[in-house]
């Protein structure tokens, strides 16, 4: 019903706003940007038609847990997704799957995003309490009064390995007072084949995504905007899991009001209310090897408010953001006895858990001189949890409170210095995070990686992170070198430990683990980026990353990326471009058998692609042909769930029109 009302509202706004589109603009609303973020296009160097996941993986500090070909779970600074805040334009969204089969990134599509803003550590606390940092997916937003009123793009392509066929289209109308934009996309893929040319069963997917956005300029300095994204995935296989997805749907809506100020300290205030609802239905009837059939539907509904003000005076600039949301997460388990006429067995894996968060965050920066800058920021949040069917939590934690309120403070400071061709930065941070719904209230959530059922603990302490980071770089016309390092000391690090008293429930499980707090854990991330322009049209780039994570006993943490590298060459000549890259991981020596990891061998992948730009009647066109894993290497990475092999040689083609 809620959906219908929202749609009707959207429908009305289509007709209503269309009527007043007259021309009286002086200012270009979107041009005023207090802080200019480096905008990236959603494409990687190798591939222009990428999925959101593929794009994210091109970032240094993002790695992925992969459970198949679809919906990879992004790890920021080698920390799992509950340690980072994942938002879409500042809106909090929570996946509805207990097994993390639907990270937020799976509910958007590359053609409705403009960029992805990744902030490491406490610098990302603007969007709420975090330990690892924040990933903010920025939606496309067309400015008012563009010279070219209609803009559009259409992209299609085919990938041979898994017969993925995709069509992505988007249009935007930019008037003086009115902007409308929409996108639509459909991807369909069959099972992929590994490096030994064996089919990886249950790795198919179908994804449909569409978005709509309307903005109306109410005055010269203010505008309103409504946005909606609808995403639907069907028949998605997860080869690493014992079940697949029959249907997942997300409706992500927001309405915002933006006010600019020409005078005074406050430059922009942007306030948005949002609502999103996610449904996720797992299905294991597609797996004949399962003797047991189990239904595991999940729902996640979030209402929220995000309001942001940008301040600037002389050398001082500041961002203040108010975040508030209310999320209800529900997940059910229903098991069927052999005799279907008999009574089914039922339990909640998320017993109607409400999370409310309200917090005020601030980032300030002062330019001490032309060369140096100080950043100071922090946030204070209140996190409230309520478990409606708390009896499920009482099974393992008798007498645990039904409600819990936590205060989540955070602070960070940094200093940047630029001297000639060199730049340096140091920073430090401190922050709390509340346990996630699964960590706090999860009940028999099956983790197919270590094959344990996980039990949440409502009494877990806040995870407290102390971090330090530094970077140094050199840059001239031809050469650029940048080294980064960060170190996290995380108190009360939440992780699953074997519970001797538990008895497994899920069919494949070997035991029960309860989320507990380690005294501490430490994490070190390092990266080195080098780029060099060998010739004006020949560029070389290299990246080396290393990470190490240890628990309080000196044991290894799981899902820490081993030493890895990437090197690429890019050559352009007129309208023609060719690029090749080699990337790989070294052997994962520091693996963690306790968490189901085994030694993952080194691998090296070679990719190559070529593209050509041309114009057909003013329509800019790009064609691209390329191959990933050209040598058809059989490999799986340290973060491949259940060591499922990655895709073998994949030849991809794509075609893009911009008009």
């Amino acid at each position: 019903m809620k959906y219908i009302i929202i749609l009707l509202f959207l429908g009305m706004s289509v007709t209503a706003q269309n009527t007043h589109a007259h021309h009286d603009s002086i200012k270009n609303l979107e041009e005023v940007q207090v802080k200019n973020a480096a905008k990236k296009k959603i494409e990687t160097e190798m591939k222009m038609a990428v999925s959101v996941d593929e794009f994210l993986s091109s970032s240094d500090n993002i790695s992925f847990i992969k459970r198949g070909a679809y919906a990879w779970e992004p790890l920021l600074n080698n920390m799992s997704s509950e340690r980072s805040t994942l938002t879409i334009d500042g809106m909090h969204i929570f996946g509805a799957c207990t097994d993390k089969m639907d990270p937020v990134t799976s509910y958007v599509e590359s053609n409705n995003l403009s960029t992805i803003d990744i902030k490491s550590g406490q610098q990302g606390s603007l969007h709420g309490a975090t330990v690892a940092g924040s990933i903010d997916l920025k939606r496309k937003s067309t400015p008012f009064g563009l010279e070219k009123k209609w803009n559009g793009a259409y992209q299609s392509g085919f990938e041979f390995n898994n017969k993925q066929f995709f069509n992505l289209g988007n249009v935007a109308y930019s008037g003086e007072k009115f902007v409308a934009e929409g996108s639509i996309s459909y991807r369909k893929a069959d099972d992929y084949y590994d490096g030994n040319n064996n089919e990886v069963k249950h790795s198919q997917y179908k994804k449909f995504n569409t978005s709509l956005g309307f903005a109306y300029k109410t005055t010269d300095l203010s505008s309103v905007r409504v946005d909606a994204i609808f995403d639907m995935a069907k028949d998605v296989g997860y080869p690493a899991l014992p079940m697949d997805l029959s249907l997942s749907r997300a409706l992500i809506t927001s309405a915002s009001y933006k006010q600019l100020f020409e005078e005074g300290v406050v430059k922009v205030v942007d306030t948005k209310v949002y609502f999103n609802a996610i449904e996720h239905y797992m299905d294991d009837t597609t797996r004949p090897e399962n003797l047991v059939h189990m239904d595991m539907p999940g729902w996640s509904t979030t209402y929220g408010l995000v309001s942001k003000a940008n301040l600037k005076k002389n050398r001082y600039s500041s961002e203040i953001q108010l975040n508030a949301y209310d999320n209800l997460s529900i997940a059910e388990m229903r098991m069927y006895p052999q005799d279907r006429s008999k009574r089914t067995m039922f339990a909640y894996s998320w017993p109607w858990v409400t999370t409310r968060y309200g917090g005020l965050s601030m980032n300030n920066s002062w330019d001490l001189s032309e060369k140096s800058q100080i950043n100071l920021g922090g946030s204070l949040g209140v996190n409230y949890n309520y478990s409606k069917y708390v009896e499920f939590n009482w099974i393992f934690h008798p007498g645990a409170p039904q409600e819990k309120t936590r205060f989540l403070p955070s602070l960070h400071a940094g200093y940047n210095l630029d001297i000639d061709h060199f730049n340096f930065s140091v920073g430090t941070g401190y922050g709390h995070r509340a346990p996630s719904v699964s960590e706090g209230y999860g009940y028999y959530i099956y983790n197919s990686f270590d094959r344990y059922d996980y039990i949440g603990n409502p009494d877990l302490k806040n995870e407290i992170s102390y971090e330090g980071n530094a970077s140094a770089g050199f840059k001239n016309e031809k050469l650029s070198i940048q080294g980064k390092i960060n170190y996290f000391y995380i108190e009360n690090y939440i992780i699953g430990r074997v519970l001797s008293m538990g008895s497994p429930m899920n069919y494949q499980s070997v035991g029960v683990k309860g989320y507990t707090s380690l005294d501490y854990a430490t994490l070190l991330n390092m990266s080195m980026n080098v780029s060099y322009d060998i010739l004006p049209h020949l560029h070389w780039k290299g990246v080396l990353t290393y990470a190490r994570g240890m628990d309080d006993q000196g044991g290894n943490l799981p899902f820490i990326r081993p030493l890895s590298y990437q090197t690429s060459l890019h050559f352009m000549h007129k309208n023609f471009g060719i690029q090749t890259s080699v990337n790989g991981d070294f052997q994962q020596i520091n693996y963690s058998p306790e968490y189901g990891e085994d030694l993952t061998s080194a691998y090296t992948i070679w990719n190559i692609s070529a593209d050509y730009n041309f114009k057909i009647n003013k329509v800019r066109t790009v064609v691209q042909v390329g191959a990933e894993n050209l040598l058809n290497e059989y490999y799986s990475t340290y973060a491949d769930w259940g060591n499922i092999p990655r895709m073998g040689r994949n030849i991809f083609t794509s075609l893009k029109f911009n008009f």
């Binding site: 059939h293 006895p337 052999q338 008293m501 008895s503 429930m505 069919y507 070997v510």
Partner: protein
């Protein structure tokens, strides 16, 4: 603009198409488990001017444990009789002439606060064509002894959480274990109450029927029931739960412990009954391995529940 409208209509159709409904959890446990919380008259009979009324939960005698409230009223004065000695004896007669009883309270106690006599009976079988139950009640009023009897109907216990089991222990004694509560378990730690009864083998030859000494049962005291609840369905792979407590006797003569149900469905309470000296009278240790696809092995002594 037309395309937008089409899109909206298309979206509308997609969104309103059917989905899986959320489970109504409160209704979920309620649907399968009848609960009896009201005492109603199950049987009444008159003897002279006295009316005897026996109340049971839901107004029905069920197989298993039944708490009974007995009232004796003088129909002429409309006064309740409270000072009498009341005896109570259920007898099961089979068509072959065999007469047995079941665990029961022979001498009923008067509850002055509630103004009735309190007792119980653990009916060990349902009434059937070949088996009929009869109650023998005796009391004294106005210095006159009354002995009356009446056929009753014992119905099937439809609440699977009030099951019972009857067996012969290693000491060659006949025992009955009956679940008393919870009537309506939840996914949580449930206080589990059971009665353990023993047939007292008569030492003297039978007198005139009904001779209570031939049909005597008593609550056993000082025993322990070790508890290991498991889900027997093959799909549950011998799943169990933490934080269970063995049943020990409390002041009310019943045995109390804790059973922790982790989810709704079929459960088996695997029991080991030990006497005062810790000797096992009945029951075996069950495997604790998680064995998916294999039906859980039950103890020699068990009671099934379902909710």
């Amino acid at each position: 603009m037309k395309s937008f409208k089409f899109l909206v209509i298309a979206l509308f159709c997609v969104i309103t198409s059917c989905t899986i409904d959320k489970t109504d959890y409160q209704a979920e446990t309620g649907s399968e488990v009848p609960d009896y919380y009201e005492f109603k008259e199950a049987v009444s009979f008159t003897s002279g001017t006295y009316k005897i009324s026996i109340e049971a939960l839901n107004g029905t005698f069920f197989k298993g444990y039944n708490e009974l409230h007995l009232k004796i009223t003088n129909t002429q004065t409309n006064q309740d009789v409270s000072s009498s000695e009341v005896t109570f004896l259920p007898i099961l007669s089979s068509t072959d002439g065999n007469k047995t009883s079941c665990p029961h309270d022979y001498n009923l106690q008067y509850d002055a606060a509630n103004k009735y006599f309190v007792g119980y009976a653990v009916f060990t079988s349902e009434s059937a064509a070949a088996n009929s139950w009869k109650l023998y009640v005796g009391f004294t009023a106005d210095n006159q002894k009354y002995d009356i009897s009446k056929d009753i109907l014992v119905e099937k216990q439809s609440n699977k959480n009030l099951n019972m089991t009857a067996f012969t222990g290693k000491d060659d004694q006949q025992y009955v274990i009956a679940l008393v509560s919870p009537q309506k378990p939840t996914v949580s730690e449930n206080k589990l109450t059971a009665g353990i009864y023993k047939y007292n083998t008569p030492t003297a030859p039978a007198g005139t029927f009904p001779d209570p000494s031939q049909y005597s049962y008593s609550e056993v005291s000082g025993y322990t029931l070790k508890l290991d609840p498991r889900m027997p369905e093959p799909s549950m792979g011998n799943h169990s739960s933490p934080n269970n407590q063995d049943l020990t006797q409390q002041n009310d003569g019943l045995y109390h412990g804790v059973v922790n149900y982790t989810m709704t469905g079929n459960w088996t309470l695997n029991l080991i009954m030990m006497n005062q000296n810790g000797l096992i009278i009945k029951g075996t240790v069950v495997p604790t391995d998680f064995t998916p696809g294999v039906e859980g092995v039950k103890s020699e002594l068990y009671i099934d529940t379902l909710f």
